[in-house]
Symmetry: C2
């Protein structure tokens, strides 16, 4: 196993909850001690890497190579990341993740997860999904030459299934939510595949965290005041929280400067909002989860405790949006901006209005809204 | 009108056919003398601009500012262009235009057309479309704050209509092809709108030509041997042909080095193939045009004579692909590459196979295939 090459700055993998170290030269899932998600660490002090060093590099997430686990040439890529930041009104920008391969932010995580899984010897891949993750896994599996099995709720819109079929994935339609799809795969799925579920492997976070590096680059070294993030599994939120901490250690941003993170959820599935509002450390499974913002239909996120921690540490908050407001805000933002907004992005736009009313967001705050994917697959 | 700012390198607009000059400070359509498309010229000798000068600029088509008509700040943009070039097999790359706003290469042309129309005082916009151009015009119109009217063949797939609706466009469903849709708009459309039809205004070519600048940048100054281009209206082909000539004048590429351009059409609508094969200078209207590669269903392209000229001047060719081969090649390329291939891109992939069999393309030729848009809207 010693022949496996990894980034020289990669300093190990430890548990987010109990800090138990794990061998990064093996296929990792969750912590073998406590079952919680694993964290990827770098020797940030030795990197000596400035923001200006990335100028002129490829416009993909691989421009942040120094804080990614793989050496150049070992990645499975469809040129993901470095998505545009589009001004939509004074002090408000949309980070348009629809511009990734397979039209969503899931491409970032899957690019890293599939790259590492292939590099470490996986022969097949699987994951449950609320929609976009399945398409991304199917596409990266196709690119890597690895067979893919996915499971999605049966009422997920047809374009999500069609996309997986296009890339040759084996597809299971499961009654219930992503939680049921995951249970189905564990009980009835193929046994010889690597499980690329959200936070059940350590590298999807590493892909997602690059969204924060991009923001700091796109704001020319500044940090936005508020980030409105549609939160399902929460990998992107956790990843960006990790990335801002890394950037502080690297000297890219001030030690104490962080954006206030806001988890935006659907009223029909808001476990992070509930835990945050009630002062709990952990989320509880949300019963009868329902929303047409399918990416937010994650009733029991494994990383819920990390989302809550990120919101509290950054002075952020959490907010639930009802279905009618999600729909009207999606339409409003699209017609105003020319961006193909997905319902999750629409929820974040609705959250901006409500958080301004509550004075959580002031007129001089610089706000970033994440449009996590293209609306095309929801129509 | 003299207050209108344009690029200092912009040297005028002349007719592609008869060279009659036109005033670029007015809203231009086709040549007032002969009705043919207009060409935008730059004072290339005075630019003194190297390929290395664009390193580090924004990863959009605006990085080629020196050969675009507008000064920074005057553009209507959704961060279009600079799409990835993805290797799919030895010596073969896919230029994935699906990664543009609205998921197609039409964004490039519409970004320039809408930017110039707004800059020059247009109050409303319209265009007929085979599908993707309508969505792009609707999105850029929304971004510019200008009302948009589009007309499409009634049997265009629903996602193309839904997209226009999302951006608030007025939509007409017309029996027939894009030719009938254009006729409908001229006879029954709003009278006070600027017509952004393919080659009926001079700037869509300027947006599309940036594909060639990107190729030369992505190949680090080299020119590919063959470009397989799905050809409907042909703006991209004509634009790239113009761009390679500009790059030769700028000293970016050798004076005599050009890729061989190949027009890929559908067997059910192949006017450029027919004109090329029969040695004609101009295309003739194709009767009963039919193909599910909707972007290729352009029976009477205004710029057909320019496409034929570009193919002949570069030692290229033209090829028609039947529907069964379009469908199977689309599926094959997607499953092999992880790219969401549209039928037009699939046609280009089929063309590669056939042109290798014919020995038009040899094993050492470096080939670029254009995937002109996402397959999502066709499913």
């Amino acid at each position: 196993m010693s022949a496996i090459r990894l980034s020289p700055f990669f300093s190990g993998v430890r548990c987010f909850a109990c800090e138990t170290p794990h061998d990064p030269r093996t296929l990792l899932t969750v912590c073998r001690q406590c079952g919680m998600p694993l964290r990827v660490d770098y020797d940030l002090a030795s990197i000596r890497w400035k923001r200006s060093d990335v100028v002129g590099r490829v416009p993909t997430l691989w421009r942040y190579r120094e804080v990614l686990p793989l050496i150049e040439g070992d990645e499975t890529t469809l040129a993901e990341g470095y998505t545009p930041l589009l001004a939509v009104e004074p002090n408000v920008w949309v980070k348009d993740e629809a511009r990734n391969p397979t039209g969503s932010f899931k491409a970032r995580g899957m690019a890293l997860a599939v790259s590492m899984a292939k590099h470490l010897g996986a022969r097949a891949l699987s994951a449950p999904s609320a929609g976009n993750a399945a398409g991304a896994l199917a596409a990266y599996g196709a690119r890597a030459g690895l067979p893919v099995t996915v499971a999605m709720p049966i009422d997920t819109p047809k374009p999500f299934f069609d996309e997986c079929e296009l890339y040759g994935a084996t597809i299971h339609r499961v009654k219930g939510t992503i939680a049921d799809a995951g249970k189905f795969l564990r009980e009835h799925g193929p046994k010889d595949t690597f499980d690329a579920s959200t936070l059940r492997e350590p590298y999807r976070i590493e892909g997602k965290k690059t969204m924060a590096y991009e923001l700091v680059e796109q704001f020319e070294g500044e940090v936005p005041d508020v980030i409105l993030y549609p939160t399902g599994g929460g990998t992107g939120l956790i990843g960006m929280w990790k990335a801002f901490n890394e950037m502080a250690a690297l000297g890219w941003i001030d030690q104490d400067r962080r954006p206030r993170f806001v988890s935006v959820q659907a009223a029909g599935c808001a476990p992070v909002v509930k835990a945050f509002d009630e002062g709990n450390e952990k989320t509880e499974p949300w019963p009868n989860a329902q929303t047409k913002a399918y990416g937010l239909r994650v009733p029991s996120p494994l990383g819920g405790f990390l989302c809550v921690r990120a919101l509290r540490e950054t002075g952020g908050t959490a907010i639930a949006i009802d279905e009618a407001n999600i729909a009207s805000a999606t339409a409003e933002l699209a017609a105003k901006s020319g961006i193909d907004v997905c319902p999750e992005g629409g929820a974040a736009w609705a959250a901006l209005r409500q958080l301004r009313d509550r004075k959580f967001i002031g007129p001089s705050d610089r706000v970033v809204i994440f449009n996590t994917g293209t609306g095309l697959k929801y129509r």
